[in-house]
C-alpha cells in the first residue's frame, strides 16, 4: 500500500514536471518567434548567413563573422529595407566568391560602412567633418565608422546606458574618469536635467578635437546657462578667462595643467593648420617630437613664420588647459573648483611649468611641441607671445630687475642727498663758527 502511494506521487510529480517543461519550452519558442519575420527575399540570404559560424577570412588571416541574426535584423530599424538595400553590390550569379577583395577585416568593415551614407547623407556629412573621419582619411584604421557605434545589422533606436556607450571601447580611461564625475554619477538618474554623456558634449557625428575650438566650452555653457553670470560675480575679466582657460582647468582641480600656445592668424581669425603653413613653418614642421623649444627657438619660429608670409601676421594665442583627456573628465562638484586666483597668478605657478607650442595637424588635432618655461618669461616674449599674458604667472623677469632698481634708486637717491645735505650743512656751520672765532 505504502509502495503504491509512493508510485502515484512519483508519477504525479513526473507528470507535473513534464507539463511545466512543455509550457516553458512553448513559451521559449513563442519568444523566439515574436517580432517581425524576415522577408522571403531576406530568407534567401539567411539560408546561408543565418548559419552560426559563417565567416570570411582575409589575406592577413583576419576573419569577420558573416552570420546575421535574421530575427534581430528583421526587428531592427533597417528590417523593412531588407538585405539588398545595403548589399546592392552583391551579384547572386557570382556570390559567393565575386566582389572586390579586401586586405583586412577592418578595411572590409570600413568599406561596408560607407553604404550608410546613401540614406543618412546628413549624418555622413557631419561625420566627414569630424576628427574621426579626419583620422580615417589620415590612414588611422582604428578610427570609428558608423557600424562601430551603431552595430551592423541589429540597429535599433535606444538611449545608451553608461555601460554600452561605444566611445569607451577606444576612450576607456576617459570614460572611467567620466563615470567618477558628477555627470557620470548622475547619468540615467531622474532629475530636473538629464546628465550628459559623451555625445551630449562632443556631439555624436561631427566630433571635433576636444582641445580646439569653442565647442566644449559652449557645451558646458549650453546646460550651465547661469555660469557666465555666476563667474562675473567674482572673476575679473570673466569673458577672457572663459576664452583662455578651459572649464576643466578649474573644475578638475587635481588635474595637471599646461599652457598651449597655438599659432593663430588674426586676419582670418582662425588657428593656423600644418597644411596651410607646411612650406613656411621651419621649426615645427622640421622639429622631432622630442624637440623642446626655448625662447630663442620660439623667437626664430615666429620670425620664420613671418619671413615668407605676410610680415607680422601670425601670432601665438595661449590657452590654459589640462594635460590629458582623462583629466579633463575628472570634474568635481563646483564647491571644490579652483577659486583661488593665486593658483595661476603667481610666479612659478604649476600651470606655467608645462608649455607647448601647437599647430593644427592634418587630422584636425593639434600637433604639439614641448617648450621650455622661459618662453613665457623672457623679454623676447613681448614680441613672440604678444597675445598671451597671465598677470603674475608669466611676468617678464627683466621688468622685476628694473623695478628693484627703481626702488633702490627711489629710496637711496633721496637718502644719499639728504645725508650729503646734512653733512655739508654741518661743515658750513663749523666753518662759520671757525670764521666767527677768527674775527
Amino acid at each position: 500500500m505504502k509502495t503504491a502511494i509512493c508510485r502515484i506521487f512519483t508519477a504525479a510529480a513526473v507528470a507535473t514536471a513534464l507539463s511545466l517543461s512543455a509550457v516553458l519550452s512553448e513559451g521559449a519558442r513563442a519568444a523566439e518567434t515574436s517580432g517581425p519575420a524576415p522577408s522571403a527575399a531576406d530568407e534567401t540570404c539567411l539560408a546561408c548567413h543565418g548559419q552560426d559560424g559563417m565567416s570570411k577570412t582575409f589575406p592577413n588571416d583576419d576573419s569577420v563573422s558573416l552570420h546575421v541574426d535574421g530575427r534581430a535584423f528583421a526587428a531592427s530599424v533597417h528590417g523593412p529595407l531588407g538585405c539588398s538595400s545595403c548589399h546592392a553590390e552583391i551579384d547572386l550569379a557570382n556570390h559567393p566568391g565575386g566582389g572586390k577583395p579586401f586586405a583586412s577585416a577592418r578595411v572590409f568593415s570600413i568599406a561596408m560602412a560607407r553604404v550608410c551614407s546613401q540614406c543618412h547623407e546628413d549624418k555622413a556629412k557631419l561625420f566627414e567633418g569630424s576628427v574621426h573621419a579626419s583620422a580615417l582619411r589620415a590612414g588611422n584604421l582604428a578610427a570609428p565608422v558608423c557600424t562601430d557605434c551603431h552595430g551592423e545589422h541589429a540597429v535599433v533606436h535606444k538611449v545608451p546606458t553608461a555601460n554600452d556607450v561605444s566611445c569607451r571601447k577606444c576612450h576607456g580611461a576617459i570614460f572611467d574618469a567620466y563615470l567618477q564625475s558628477p555627470h557620470g554619477k548622475a547619468y540615467g538618474k531622474p532629475g530636473l536635467m538629464k546628465a550628459p554623456i559623451c555625445a551630449d558634449c562632443h556631439r555624436a557625428h561631427d566630433v571635433s578635437p576636444a582641445s580646439t575650438g569653442t565647442g566644449l566650452r559652449d557645451a558646458c555653457l549650453g546646460c550651465h546657462t547661469n555660469a557666465v553670470e555666476a563667474h562675473q560675480k567674482w572673476l575679473p575679466n570673466t569673458k577672457l578667462h572663459l576664452q583662455v582657460v578651459s572649464c576643466p582647468a578649474c573644475h578638475a582641480p587635481t588635474s595637471q595643467k599646461r599652457v598651449d600656445l597655438r599659432l593663430y592668424d588674426p586676419v582670418t581669425k582662425r588657428d593656423v593648420t600644418a597644411k596651410d603653413e607646411q612650406a613656411r613653418l621651419d621649426v615645427p614642421a622640421g622639429a622631432s617630437s622630442g624637440t623642446v623649444l626655448d625662447s630663442k627657438a620660439l623667437w626664430d619660429l615666429m620670425r620664420g613664420v613671418d619671413r615668407n608670409g605676410v610680415p607680422g601676421r601670425m601670432t601665438l594665442v595661449g590657452r590654459l588647459d589640462v594635460r590629458s583627456g582623462a583629466e579633463a573628465h575628472q570634474l568635481t562638484d563646483k564647491s571644490k573648483a579652483i577659486r583661488d586666483c593665486v593658483v595661476c597668478h603667481r610666479k612659478g605657478a604649476d600651470p606655467f611649468k608645462n608649455v607647448t607650442i601647437s599647430i593644427i595637424g592634418p587630422d584636425g588635432r593639434p600637433i604639439r611641441y614641448e617648450a621650455k618655461q622661459n618662453v613665457l618669461h623672457g623679454p623676447g616674449s613681448v614680441e613672440a607671445l604678444s597675445g598671451f599674458y597671465a598677470i603674475g604667472g608669466t611676468r617678464i623677469g627683466l621688468l622685476d630687475v628694473l623695478l628693484a632698481l627703481a626702488l633702490l634708486a627711489g629710496i637711496s637717491a633721496p637718502v644719499a642727498h639728504l645725508v650729503l645735505r646734512r653733512l655739508s650743512r654741518r661743515r658750513q656751520s663749523a666753518e662759520q663758527r671757525a670764521a666767527g672765532k677768527g674775527e
Binding site: P236, P266, T315, G387, L399, A406, Q428
Partner: protein, 223 residues
C-alpha cells in the same frame, strides 16, 4: 586774482588753487594705493598686502577714480588762465640753461648753501626741470598709463585696441614700465618737495594754497 599776504620778510603767494589741491591729494593717495595694489597683483605669492581679488578690485576702482580726477585737473587748466604754468619754454637754449642751472643747484649748490635759482610766482610755479617733467608726466605718461590700464581692465571689450597696440603683453609691458617709473617718482617727488625754505613749506602750501616766497620787489606778478 593774485592774493598776497605779507609776513615779515616772506610773503604768501596764492599759487595752488583749490581744484588743483583737491586733484593733487586725491592723486597722491590714489597713486600710493594703486602702487600697493599693483605690487600685490604682480607679486602675488611673494607679498601679502591684501588678497589678489581685493587688489584687483581696488586697482580697478582707484584707476577709475584717478581717471575722473585727471579730468578735474585737465578741465581746470583748460578753462582757466592757470594753464600758463604748463606753457613750455619755446626757447630751447633758455630752457636748457634753466634746467642745467636747476640741476647744478640740486647736485652742488644746495650743498654749498646757495639759493634756489628758481623763484616761484603765480604763473611760474615750476622750475625748468619740473616744467619739463610735469609736461611729460601729465600729458604723455599718465594718459598712457590710464589708457593701458583701461585696456587691461576689460581685455575682451577692448580687444581691437589691444590688437592695435600690439597685443596684451605689449600693453601690459608698457603699463608695468610706467608703473616702475611712477614707483621711482613716488619717492623722489616728496623728497624734492621737502627742499623748500623749510622741510614742510611746500607740503603746507599744497594744503593751504599759499607758497611762502622771499619778499623781493617785482616777484610774484603775472608775466
Amino acid at each position: 586774482m593774485i592774493r598776497n599776504q605779507r609776513t615779515g620778510t616772506m610773503r604768501k603767494l596764492y599759487v595752488h588753487p583749490l581744484p588743483v589741491r583737491i586733484w593733487h591729494w586725491i592723486n597722491a593717495l590714489g597713486f600710493v594705493l594703486l602702487i600697493l595694489s599693483g605690487l600685490q597683483i604682480r607679486y602675488s605669492g611673494a607679498i601679502q598686502l591684501m588678497s589678489f581679488a581685493t587688489a584687483v578690485q581696488t586697482h580697478n576702482v582707484l584707476g577709475g577714480v584717478l581717471i575722473l580726477n585727471y579730468f578735474v585737473w585737465l578741465l581746470f587748466y583748460l578753462f582757466t588762465d592757470k594753464i600758463r604754468v604748463y606753457h613750455p619754454e619755446l626757447n630751447p637754449a633758455k630752457h636748457f640753461r634753466g634746467s642745467l642751472r636747476q640741476l647744478w643747484y640740486y647736485g652742488y649748490g644746495i650743498f654749498k648753501g646757495q639759493p634756489n635759482p628758481h623763484h616761484v610766482s603765480v604763473y611760474r610755479k615750476f622750475n625748468p626741470l619740473q616744467s619739463m617733467t610735469y609736461q611729460i608726466v601729465m600729458i604723455l605718461l599718465v594718459p598712457i598709463q590710464f589708457y593701458t590700464g583701461v585696456l587691461l581692465w576689460d581685455v575682451t571689450r577692448f580687444s581691437a585696441s589691444i590688437q592695435l597696440f600690439g597685443g596684451v603683453r605689449v600693453v601690459d609691458t608698457v603699463h608695468v614700465v610706467l608703473f616702475i617709473f611712477f614707483i621711482g617718482f613716488i619717492f623722489i617727488h616728496p623728497y624734492l618737495a621737502s627742499l623748500g625754505h623749510t622741510t614742510m613749506a611746500h607740503f603746507k602750501a599744497m594744503v593751504t594754497g599759499y607758497e611762502e616766497v622771499e619778499d623781493e620787489p617785482g616777484r610774484g606778478e603775472p608775466r
